[in-house]
């Protein structure tokens, strides 16, 4: 089982359609966002982007490109994402983060909630007149 982290803390996975059908994509971190956007099917409602290591920040750029290209469906960060990256994920366009139960035990809910204020103290938002970076 995995844990889904949102601005309100830990919760269960509400995406029940899996990643096999036409409505969801499960992508590695080396996905080319330009090609992804060009080939994106209108049916896609969920895109899950893998973080094989928290040090691999390419996923942030992929999410951002999806948002800039007009994708409005769900984007989820999946894998080794640490609580310290929650605000970065949200600001880059991710809706939530999916982590393992082990990681959730080591970095409990309070450590993630500490970053739920991601809309504050945001230089990117200032540069863009208040709208989030991903808008």
């Amino acid at each position: 089982m995995t844990v889904i982290v949102t601005d309100t803390g830990f919760g269960p996975d509400t995406w029940t359609a899996g990643y096999e059908g036409n409505t969801a994509l499960d992508l590695p971190s080396d996905t080319n966002p330009v090609e992804l956007v060009e080939q994106l099917d209108a049916d896609v409602q969920m895109i899950r982007i893998n973080f094989p290591s928290f040090a691999d920040g390419r996923g942030f750029t992929i999410a951002r490109q999806l948002r800039l290209s007009g994708y409005t469906g769900h984007i989820r960060a999946y894998g080794h994402v640490i609580a310290d990256q929650y605000a970065m994920a949200r600001r880059s366009g991710f809706d939530d983060v999916e982590i393992s139960e082990d990681l959730a035990a080591r970095q409990p809910e309070t450590q993630w909630l500490a970053r739920a204020n991601w809309q504050q103290h945001n230089y990117q938002s200032r540069m863009r007149g208040g709208s989030p970076a991903a808008a």
């Binding site: 920040g57 800039l68 103290h121 970076a133």
Partner: protein, 555 residues
């Protein structure tokens, strides 16, 4: 000078609270050592050979007396009474305890300073021309742009876990004093034929194990396009830059492998997506920032005191001729204070010296100081009548050395005395070279000659762009020093040519002496600088002087 507004102050308080919690979470096991490492690095905290090291940002090299005094306080309270100014306009404290670092960061925040993104795979502290706002050759003060870039790059959500670091420098003068072409990205303020101010953008410069000179990706970028364009460049590189080999991760390699046309096309496409997200708020912010950097109200006064001292005091005259640069106001001067006293560690200043410089800035210098990438401290605006008093004070505190631009004004990385990456010592080589040429009493005759020393291939000491570059390596457990000649750190940037086999630790000083002696013999006139001579005659005569044994064998 820029002053933090409520947003900046609140951001920094939040950031420091986060780091304090990260230290605690490392101790309680919430964060593994691997996870903590990039978090401490993006807050300026390194683990060195003997201890932690805190690298504090001095954005675009500008600080006021209160900030300099606070650095002195940090040096005394949490270090061994000194700090080390670096080639990227930072100051490093070499002996802090991990548990003290959150308090140090809070103390810095009191004066609007931080250590954010001075390390890690992030956009690093943005650097600029150290004579900004004062130089006679300036098109526009580059610091407002640098401050805008500082704010944009700070905690940028997309760019905190990149494949490698990304360094940005900004210049606004006809001359390049910021080593623009050795940066991942350089912004150069330019004026087009219509008289509009814009930016020339270079990418792909860098030193390290694969030195590359930056190349122009955009000749003229309108002012309002700057941030979206920078964001496009970094975003493209974050996506396609190599992550399989950290030695091939920098944008210079990405550029080399993909070619400029490919990179430019990708950047242009991404720019088109990003540009609409900037609706002008950044330009309003830029105008606010610009107002903070308005020139001080320069006073007018007689310069008779200066003229008299210049005529009557030869020590003062020597210092004036060597350490002063032309100010845009005729009756003012730019003073470079040498942090390169002969025989001392280049870039190291004691807390007492920091306070002396802060006091001088407050009393005579419109409360401004600068740190140069050459590891010296600058009083950018000084009325000439105040120069004798300043010089007298500097002399009392070991800061009166008249050697700016000369052979003893050496850039040296910390080397094996501090650094975990180093393969050889740099500081003692710099100290011995300075001492030796001081003994010879030749350095004013030698004239402009830059020696730059790195203690490993990562080239923090900029050896590739030194007129004489020295690279310390480890050869089977023995220090070995390679010499490169003809490097250039200015707009005519060049990577030095390797002269030949390296020299042992006890051979390197005589080797440099032979190069200098050869230069003095072959220069066409006393005015021809070392670099000019080198460009005229090439490597051969210097090689002959460096390796006399090889010459004999050929003969």
């Amino acid at each position: 000078m820029y002053k933090y507004n409520e947003f900046d102050a609140a951001f920094l308080a939040e950031r420091n609270a986060q780091f304090r919690a990260q230290v605690e979470r490392r101790i309680d096991g919430s964060l593994t050592e691997d996870e903590f490492k990039p978090l401490r690095l993006m807050n300026g905290l390194y683990l060195q050979l003997h201890a932690y090291m805190l690298r504090v940002a001095i954005p675009y090299g500008t600080l006021n007396s209160a900030q300099m005094n606070q650095l002195a306080l940090l040096a005394e309270k949490w270090d061994k009474g000194y700090g080390h100014f670096t080639t990227r306009q930072n100051i490093q404290f070499n002996w802090p305890k991990l548990s003290d670092v959150p308090d140090m960061l809070d103390a810095l925040a009191e004066v609007g300073m931080h250590a954010i993104q001075t390390s890690g795979n992030t956009i690093r502290n943005v650097t600029a021309d150290h004579f900004a706002g004062a130089a006679a050759d300036e098109i526009e003060d580059p610091r407002p742009v640098a401050e805008l870039i500082r704010q944009w790059s700070t905690d940028h959500p997309e760019f905190q876990f990149m494949g490698r670091k990304f360094k940005i420098a900004v210049g606004g003068g006809a001359k390049d004093r910021a080593v623009l072409k050795a940066h991942d990205l350089a912004v150069r303020v330019v004026q087009n034929d219509a008289g509009e101010i814009g930016y020339q953008i270079l990418i792909g410069g860098g030193l390290g194990r694969t030195p590359m000179i930056g190349k122009v990706i955009n000749d003229f970028l309108p002012r309002a396009d700057l941030l979206p364009y920078l964001e496009a460049v970094v975003s493209v590189w974050n996506q396609i830059g190599r992550r399989d080999n950290k030695y091939k991760a920098r944008i210079k390699i990405t550029l080399h492998e993909h070619g400029m046309d490919d990179i430019r096309a990708r950047v242009d496409a991404r720019f088109a997506l990003i540009k609409p997200t900037f609706q002008g708020a950044d330009q309003e912010l830029f105008s606010e920032i610009e107002a903070y950097f308005a020139a001080p109200d320069f006073r007018t006064d007689s310069t008779a005191v200066f003229s008299t001292a210049y005529k009557t005091d030869p020590v003062f005259r020597s210092w004036v001729d060597t350490n002063l640069a032309e100010h845009r106001q005729d009756d003012h001067a730019i003073v470079t204070i040498s942090i390169k006293k002969h025989g001392a560690t280049p870039g190291d200043a004691s807390a007492e010296q920091m306070r002396v410089m802060a006091d001088l800035a407050a009393k005579y210098g419109y409360d401004e100081l600068r740190i140069s990438h050459e590891q010296n401290v600058i009083l950018p605006h000084v009325h000439k009548s105040d120069l004798p008093a300043i010089h007298a004070k500097l002399k009392q505190h070991g800061l009166g050395t008249a050697n700016i631009g000369l052979i003893s004004d050496i850039i040296a990385c910390p080397g094996m005395d501090y650094c975990a990456l180093a393969t050889a010592r740099s500081i003692p080589v710099a100290e011995q070279l300075a001492t030796r040429f001081d003994e010879l009493k030749l350095e004013h005759d030698i004239g402009h000659l830059q020696i730059k020393i790195s203690g490993c291939i990562n080239a923090c000491g900029h050896h590739h762009v030194g007129h004489i570059g020295i690279l310390g390596l480890d050869r089977a457990g023995v220090e070995n020093y390679q010499i490169t000649l003809g490097g250039d750190a200015t707009w005519s940037a060049a990577v030095g040519e390797r002269a030949g086999p390296g020299f042992a630790y006890d051979e390197i000083i005589p080797a440099v002496e032979r190069i200098v002696s050869a230069y003095l013999d072959i220069r066409s006139t006393p005015d021809e600088t070392f670099l000019e001579t080198y460009r005229r005659v090439g490597l051969a005569p210097f090689k002959a002087a460096l390796y006399p044994e090889a010459q004999k064998k050929v003969a």
